[in-house]
């Protein structure tokens, strides 16, 4: 009896200690374990998608690599955790991942009541609808009475409800947890409509049996600013992630690319570029990194424009143009504060 009691007390004490510990500074944790644990989707072409050798590619994946570049000088020091829409926030809250980079929409609720904070907007998106051409529908306003397939735990299902209610239309929602189940249900005719972020529509359309028999409707019904998320109250790590994003934008603006970054470090006389690349000033130190952090981030994945073009741009299967995601100086809304 005594022994049982003792082991019970011990076991409980240990588990309690486990609960109370956790969450020192993520930056220190990451540095000491030697890699970044990055939460991504379970497979969304162009954003985070594994190949058959488990090599991940995509915009969201590259962003994590850029952070790894900034922290370690090596963009490969990242491990990926695929997460469904439903699992993602719990995974970040519990410390299972260090950063969530999974086409996640920045909303006020998520930014304030989940104990999380968004570090930037790596892709400005909006929600759209995909339908079979054979239905002969050319506008979302003609979808009254339709069955709509979507993923649970997303902003998508909320916008959908808002949109149909605002336009006084009826609909039937069929919501699944995994994107593949949504696609399969749509493909088998369970639904007339598939809805998600527009970028997601283009990506998921590629997985359909006959992609060309489906069209994306013109309406965009919501604002979906997608970006990386970290835990609240961990300012050092938040700064690293936020400024890595800004560094990629600043690099594009200054014309720093993977090809010329070494040359720029050695020869550039532009003071802005010299500060960005750590030749002048101690900006890297100020966020707990080496001074050449930004140069390393660019070496890992290129500047924002390179990253965009490689993963989702006009040359890829997704064929997405820069649109609002162009730099502010080129008519878009991507804008980064200066390094000074």
């Amino acid at each position: 009896m005594k022994r049982t009691l003792l082991s019970l007390a011990l076991g409980t004490a240990v588990s309690l200690a486990g609960i109370t510990a956790a969450s020192a500074g993520t930056l220190d944790d990451v540095k000491s374990k030697g890699f970044i644990q990055c939460g991504v989707s379970q497979g969304l072409i162009g954003f985070s998608n594994p190949d058959d050798k488990n090599n991940w590619t995509g915009l969201d994946v590259d962003f994590c690599r850029a952070v790894a570049g900034a922290v370690f000088g090596d963009g490969q020091k990242v491990k990926f955790t695929p997460l469904s829409a439903k699992e993602r926030f719990t995974a970040l809250q519990s410390g299972e991942i260090d950063i969530l980079s999974r086409n996640t929409t920045w909303t006020m609720g998520r930014d304030t009541s989940l104990g999380l904070v968004f570090a930037g907007v790596t892709y400005y998106d909006g929600q759209g609808f995909l339908v079979k051409k054979s239905l002969g529908v050319d506008s979302a306003l003609k979808l009254d009475g339709a069955s709509v397939c979507t993923q649970t735990g997303t902003t998508t299902e909320l916008n959908l409800a808002d949109y149909f209610r605002a336009n006084n239309m009826k609909y039937e929602v069929v919501a699944f947890e995994k994107a593949d189940e949504v696609i399969a249900a749509y493909d088998s005719g369970r639904c007339d409509v598939f809805t998600t972020d527009q970028s997601g529509l283009y990506a998921e359309r590629l997985k359909l049996k006959n992609p060309d028999e489906n069209v994306v409707l013109p309406e965009i019904i919501s604002k979906e600013p997608l970006g990386p998320v970290v835990r609240q109250g961990d300012d050092a790590w938040f700064n690293v992630v936020k400024w890595t994003y800004f560094a990629l934008l600043n690099a594009e603006e200054a014309g720093v690319t993977t090809a010329n970054v070494d040359d720029m470090v050695a020869n550039s006389t532009d003071p802005g570029i010299r500060r960005l690349l750590g030749v002048e000033g101690d900006f890297g130190k100020a966020i707990g990194l080496e001074n050449n952090w930004a140069a390393n981030a660019v070496k890992a994945v290129g500047n924002y424009g390179e990253m965009f073009d490689r993963n989702v741009g006009p040359e890829t299967n997704l064929k997405i143009s820069r649109g609002v995601n162009a730099l502010w100086s080129k008519g878009g809304i991507q804008y980064a504060p200066p390094v000074r």
Binding site: G115, S147, G153, L160, E172, V174, E177, S188, G189
Partner: protein, 408 residues
């Protein structure tokens, strides 16, 4: 104290000899086995409560420190999402609390339907497996081996794929006289719109059931007294359907039907059952029935062969012998494991999250994700499953006790 004393006297007469004094033996308080055992248990409970309380406090403190909202207020907040299948009125402007209620009701519905169907299939297959007819026994055996060895989740996907693939699109829905429609959006039947006095029909149904119970008692008595049998089953059927129908016409047909009709995308009107429900219900029933069949078989085999022989000797034919002599005795062996299967079925219904049927886990999961209140939702999940399971257990225990009394 008196009880305690006598117990001590009873167990330790040698003690009273050694003390040799009149009155109860004197044992040091902390050596008293009763006191000791109560003391240890009290300490154990205190420790458990202490650690439980610590855990709750810890969780709350950690949530607070991590800036994660907690508390139950969110249940009154607007949910903002829709659910595909609801038994009670629900829309995107309903609350999170109502979304969870929808989930609970859906769980209960599928569990209830599944339990009934699984029991019927299970009993039939269990008896079939003991049949002397080789083919019948083999068919039952093959069914059992397949159904209980393929993981339930896989079966669920198969059913879902089959249901979706086999059925036509709603534009080409199969229909029975334009009243019942079947398509890959589900089955749609006319909606009943109750008119004046329609409640009388409900009364008629209740009256019919009461009548059937009485009829059964009367027939039983008559058979005991005279040996004559009465066709109870057929008469019951006639009463069950006849009485409400008669009432319906006598009242001048007060129920109207809203028939479904083709819309742009789906059928409009009527009431429908979604294919996700069908897939879940089939999978749960077929899977659990295979276990129930084995339980039934073991129950029947547990009844002494002499019982069957004795009933044959009394002139009963095999069917009545099975029904009247063997199965009632087998029930005592069957019911306890049957109860476990019912509990399993109920909890297995949570796999529906994979095929998009909004039962408790799916609906609750959506609430959890949209509101971010994981701890609260998980608490609700546990509480609801625990309650459903305990109620099922209680019912099965009552049933078990009742079946025991039937023994003569």
């Amino acid at each position: 104290m008196a009880l305690l004393r006598s117990a001590q006297q009873g167990e330790g007469s040698s003690m009273s000899v050694t003390t040799g004094v009149d009155g109860p033996p004197k044992v040091a308080f902390f050596n008293d086995p009763k006191v000791r055992s109560i003391g240890v248990q009290a300490i154990l409970i205190a420790v458990i409560i202490f650690f439980g309380w610590q855990m709750v406090q810890n969780t709350l403190a950690n949530l607070e420190r991590a800036n994660i909202a907690s508390g139950w207020g969110f249940l009154d907040t607007t949910a903002g999402f829709d659910l595909s299948f609801t038994l009670i009125p629900y829309s995107e402007s309903s609350t999170y609390g109502r979304a969870i209620t929808v989930g609970v009701l859906n769980t209960i519905l599928v569990a209830f339907c599944g339990i009934i169907t699984a029991t019927i299939i299970g009993f039939i297959v269990g008896v079939m497996r003991l049949s002397k007819n080789w083919l019948v026994a083999k068919v039952a055996e093959i069914y059992i081996e397949i159904a209980r060895n393929v993981p339930l989740l896989v079966q669920m996907f198969i059913w879902y794929k089959v249901v979706l693939a086999a059925l036509p699109s709603p534009r080409a829905a199969w229909s029975i006289g334009d009243t019942i429609f079947l398509s890959n959006r589900g089955i749609t039947i006319p909606k009943f719109i109750w008119g004046d006095g329609a409640w009388m029909i409900g009364v008629a149904v209740v009256a019919a059931i009461a009548g059937i119970v009485m009829l059964k008692k009367w027939a039983h008595k008559r058979q005991e007294a005279t040996g004559e049998q009465f066709p109870v089953f057929l008469t019951s059927l006639a009463i069950l359907f006849g009485l409400p129908l008669l009432t319906y016409f006598a009242l001048g047909a007060p129920v109207e039907f809203e028939f479904a009709e083709q819309g742009n995308f789906n059928l409009r009107g009527g009431v429908g059952l979604v294919p996700e429900f069908a897939a879940l219900y089939f999978a749960l029933s077929v899977y659990t029935a295979s276990f129930i069949a084995e339980i039934v078989r073991s129950g029947i085999l547990a009844v002494n062969k002499g019982q069957t022989e004795a009933s044959y000797a009394l002139g009963l034919r095999p069917n009545p012998a099975l029904r009247l002599v063997v199965i009632p005795q087998a029930m005592r062996v069957i019911i306890p494991p049957l109860a476990s299967q019912y509990l399993n079925l109920t909890k297995n219904s949570s796999l529906a999250v994979a095929i998009g049927f909004p039962e408790l886990v799916a609906a609750g999961g959506t609430v959890m994700n949209q509101s971010g209140q994981a701890v609260e939702i998980i608490t609700i999940w546990m509480a609801v499953y625990l309650t459903i399971s305990l109620l099922t257990s209680a019912f099965m225990n009552w049933f078990n006790a009742r079946m025991k009394l039937v023994e003569r």
